[in-house]
């Protein structure tokens, strides 16, 4: 390999290392069971930048494939603490009839999901029961 190319490759590699050293700051929650649901349900939450994501999974017994009934995406409103649920274009696990928008409040590493309005519903019974009252959890830096 010519010396010039070696230098180039080295610089490139160092550049990548340098870039790789600083990634997004991510806060997450290790999988937990929603207390209002059957034990096969688990959820996690991830906060990265302006997006708070909550994923609800169902661990089915036997050969039945496990499911993900809902992936909730809350997007930060402006620069403040409030995050707003974005509609799920996949249609799976949707929040039905959700106006006004569901909100979450994030203060440092603590996230609280505000409860449903009366009359709102979801396509999943666990999600429905879980979101009927305010849910708070502490996120840890990854």
């Amino acid at each position: 390999m010519p010396a010039q190319r070696r230098v180039a490759v080295t610089l490139f590699a160092l550049g990548l290392l340098g870039l790789g050293a600083c990634g997004p700051t991510v806060f997450s929650l290790y999988a937990q069971s929603p207390e209002s649901c059957a034990p096969e349900y688990r959820y996690t939450a991830v906060l990265s930048g302006n997006v708070l994501g909550v994923t609800l999974a169902k661990d089915n017994p036997g050969d039945t494939p496990d499911e993900i009934p809902a992936v909730l995406t809350y997007k930060q409103k402006g620069d403040g603490q409030l995050f707003e649920l974005t509609p799920d274009p996949t249609g799976a696990g949707d929040i039905l009839d959700a106006p006004p928008a569901l909100l979450a409040r994030v203060v440092e590493a603590r996230a609280c999901l505000e409860p449903f309005e009366a009359g709102d519903s979801t396509g999943d019974v666990c999600l429905q029961s879980w979101l009927q009252t305010e849910r708070c959890f502490d996120l840890e830096k990854e």
């Binding site: 180039a8 870039l19 700051t25 990265s48 930048g49 496990d66 995406t73 930060q76 799976a92």
Partner: protein
Amino acid sequence: MRTIVAVHGITAGGNAANTGYAKVESKAIQKHLAALGTFDVPVTEALWADEAQRFLSANFLADAQAMVLNAIGGKVLGAVGKVLSWFGVPTLAQVADMVADVFIYDGITRKNRIKNVVLAQILAAREQAGRGVILHGNSLGSVIGLDIISDLIEGGQMGADVPRKDWPIRGFLSTGSPLALDLPFVSGYVDRANRLSRLLPKTLSSFPWLNLYDLNDPIASGNLLGIASDPSLLAQLRGYRKLRLTDLSPDSGFHIRSHTEYWGHPTVAQHLVALARLKD
């Protein structure tokens, strides 16, 4: 869970130099699903860099280099050094090699050949999985994705008259997409986004398309080389959602890092999981 087919954007070098991003994406997805259950979300790459390399000519390189230098001359970027730092490569020739892919893909003959190479890999993944795949196109890869989905609809392989279980592609995620770029020297990305928009509302109102971008991403924002103007028809799409990310760049200014870090980003992984669980 459905298979994800990831299509890369502009590159320097051939396939061998560009493989690996599916592994990064797969790792991010596994991390997202950790301890939630047993999920298999295969991620496969649709590589096309070899095809582009075969067509890489002095003319394309010269055009690409002229375009970069023109941008620098217009004081858009400031300096050559900054361009190199943005692209993470040491020479302007390598930047030109990457930018040349734009011209190569838009070459009339080559566009079809690159599309065919990518489509063949999509169909192979669909065949192996037995279900329609989720397509993730990054940067120029998202434009290739737009074109392929539009072609499939026009060709009668997807659409209201085709059962959803038979669609080769069940959902689309674009990241760092230049679909808002409207530049005189590349064939209109806006037009191509609008082409798909025209096809989708009539035929595939349930086809989800998520577009993730960072405002500091100079390609997705459209502010590097042109003026961003959202394709007018996108707002009509029921299944289209765009979501701005804010934490891809290490600083608050434009940085190519904002364009290259989507693969391993947790929010991208989260949305791929959302798409991969789609039922027929």
